[in-house]
């Protein structure tokens, strides 16, 4: 029973990472109906920036904040420069562009910071008081950071004029433009925020699974699974889905299939959801006008 509780709780901790990635994916999906396959690579690249800053002597939290800034600018720049021309292009072109981005950023990480696996420091000391029998201090910290991110995102979208404008732009671009919302910039801002949230996920997960250019591949897959489970057009569903996938994956890894088939669990979850309930638990079913 204790072991089971441990698995569930640590699944909850990794679920927080997936929830963040899922939230980042939903943020872009909501406004443009694009699934960003390069999300994980953007996060990895940002995490490398943090690693670089920490190794040349920045204190952790300074590097953390600078990385967030960097990730935000990176997201905005990618949207403005590369993705924008394909705003109205067919789905195939858009996916091809995202895959191209994935390749470019992935090998850029490898080229600039080489392909060796690197340890990444955790800001939470391993003997801190908040560590317990079930969770390591880093896992507790991870959950805490995830909740802070989620709360800030909620407050931003619920209580600030900018958040309202972004929601309006996603909901009805034409009317928003008539009301004076700069829809193009709202999309770019969405990309920036998605990049930022992804960077947090990257920096939180790197101490656990170590830093290498392929770090976020499986995390992104779980993020997809989470987003689909909760409904890819519903941020809160996606977050919940991320947590559920984290717990499921940990339990399946411990009791069912072993650690070697963890990614296959994500595959099964994704296909299962798409077959049984494509709109996810809390998503709206897709309706097409004839």
């Amino acid at each position: 029973m204790q072991a089971f509780l441990h698995q569930v709780l640590s699944g909850f901790a990794t679920g927080g990472i997936y929830a963040s990635v899922a939230l980042a994916l939903v943020m872009i999906y909501q406004s443009t109906h694009h699934v960003n396959f390069a999300q994980g690579e953007m996060a990895t690249f940002s995490t490398y920036m943090a690693w670089k800053m920490i190794t040349i002597g920045f204190p952790y939290w300074a590097a953390f904040l600078l990385t967030l800034l960097f990730a935000f600018v990176l997201g905005v720049a990618i949207e403005r420069i590369i993705v924008r021309p394909f705003y109205k292009a067919p789905v195939l072109s858009v996916i091809a562009v995202f895959i191209g981005l994935l390749l470019i950023i992935n090998s850029l990480s490898g080229a600039l910071f080489d392909y060796t696996i690197k340890p990444f420091p955790s800001p939470f000391p391993s003997d801190a008081w908040y560590g317990g029998p079930y969770l390591s201090p880093h896992e507790v910290g991870m959950i805490f950071v995830t909740f802070v991110v989620l709360a800030l995102t909620f407050f931003f979208f619920r209580f600030t004029p900018l958040g309202l404008a972004m929601r309006a732009a996603a909901e009805n671009p034409v009317s928003s433009r008539l009301c004076g919302v700069r829809v193009g910039w709202m999309l770019a801002l969405g990309w920036g925020l998605a990049g930022l949230i992804g960077a947090v996920a990257g920096m939180m997960t790197a101490p656990v699974i170590y830093l290498d250019p392929y770090m976020m591949f499986s995390v992104l897959l779980y993020g997809f699974a989470g987003a689909l489970l909760g409904g890819i057009d519903n941020p809160w569903g996606a977050v919940l889905g991320g947590f559920i996938v984290g717990v499921l994956q940990n339990i399946a890894g411990a009791y069912l299939v072993g650690t070697e088939l963890m990614v296959t669990v994500a595959l099964v979850i994704i296909i299962g959801i798409l077959v049984i309930k494509p709109s996810g638990l809390f998503g709206r079913p897709i309706v097409t006008r004839v």
Binding site: H33, H34, V35, F37, I82, P85, F86, A89, P90, V91, L92, S93, I95, A96, V97, I99, G100, L101, L102, L103, I104, N106, S107, L108, G110, A111, D114, F217, S218, L221, F224, A225, L228, E260, L261, M262, V263, T264, A266, L267, I270, I271, L274, V275, P278, T288, V290
Partner: protein, 340 residues
């Protein structure tokens, strides 16, 4: 999908293009020349060059499979490397564990891949665009892991993979093993291209394109979209699986890490560069898939994938119809000028 131009104006086919011969006749002459060159090739180039040429042929079959699915039917797959892997592993396991002759393993790989592709295509029926891309993306990432899984070790050889020996030329033929293998691949490739051509030029092909361009309208016209889509997935997987089986004979080795996510991505880049919804484009794409990674390695040792990514995005910007689209546009322009 609306940007893809597949239908040609009927007039250009009949109008004399050059020297009093129509486009169709020129196409046949060109095709015959290419075939003749392909038959002479193994006797004039080195073994290494022959290996590369053979690999191009194999990739062309794989890309043809993906192109039937994505280019003609508009279903997206980021996971065709998985079907290539299934084909390759089928041949390798059969050669390793049973006494089945190598030539008989190829159709078996094809049948198995058809079945797997068909089954994977069933849930994919309900999925469009991004969702299908997601499901196949997951498939591509999970493939190496499944191949490495220790409970399948006795079949797949786990991380080590399987070593197989290349077949010799059948008795009496004065060919080296690599020359024979080249002709063997060619003997599979030509019929497969003819099958695909027959499939795509008639009623079936029009149905596929109709489903791609407007699924709802296609269904209204009485096209059984569900049946066509899952069959297309199966056929596409079969082509790619046969390519994988031939590829295994060619490499004489299969291992989980040669079928990673990036293989699927290379296939995608291949069909985009070669030209979506174009059969000849498969060859241009295959040349790209085979040689560009090497060239990219020369250009930048550390970031070879980046070159592919840049080419992919660049293609989408500059020539969304790929090499064949470019050739077609040039041909039309030339035809119009001569006709005038």
């Amino acid at each position: 999908m609306a940007t893809l131009e597949t239908s040609r104006p009927a007039t250009t086919a009949a109008a004399p293009l050059f020297a009093g011969l129509s486009l169709r006749v020129w196409q046949i002459i060109g095709l015959a020349a290419v075939l003749a060159a392909a038959c002479v090739l193994p006797f004039i180039i080195s073994s290494y060059q022959l290996l590369l040429a053979n690999q191009v042929i194999v990739y062309a079959v794989a890309l043809l499979g993906l192109n039937i699915l994505t280019g003609y039917n508009g279903q997206f797959s980021l996971g065709h490397g998985a079907f290539y892997a299934i084909g390759a592993y089928t041949t390798a396991i059969l050669l390793d564990k049973t006494g089945i002759p190598y030539w008989a393993t190829i159709p078996m790989a094809g049948v198995l891949c058809f079945a797997v592709g068909f089954l994977f295509g069933l849930p994919a029926l309900r999925l469009e665009g991004h969702y299908l891309a997601l499901a196949t993306f997951a498939l591509a990432i999970a493939t190496p892991q499944l191949l490495k899984y220790k409970d399948f070790d006795f079949l797949t050889g786990g991380v080590q993979g399987i070593v197989i020996t290349a077949p010799d030329a059948p008795g009496g033929l004065p060919l080296r093993a690599d020359q024979w293998l080249y002709f063997f691949c060619l003997l599979w490739t030509i019929p497969l291209f003819i099958v695909a051509w027959n499939l795509l030029r008639g009623r079936t092909g029009r149905a596929l394109v109709a489903i791609r361009d407007h699924p709802l309208a296609a269904a209204t016209m009485g096209i059984d979209t569900a049946r066509y889509k899952s069959m297309t997935f199966g056929v596409s997987a079969m082509f790619t699986g046969i390519a994988g089986a031939l590829g295994a004979l060619l490499a004489q080795f299969v291992s989980p890490d040669s079928f990673d996510f990036f293989l699927s991505v290379r296939f995608l880049v291949g069909i985009v560069v070669g030209g979506l919804a174009s059969m000849a484009g498969a060859f241009f794409g295959a040349i790209f898939v085979e040689f560009v990674p090497n060239i990219a390695d020369l250009l930048s040792k550390a970031a070879p994938q980046a070159i592919q990514g840049i080419v992919l995005i660049g293609c989408m910007y500059l020539m969304p119809t790929g090499v064949m689209g470019l050739v077609r546009a040039l041909g039309h322009r030339l035809g119009r000028r001569v006709a005038r």
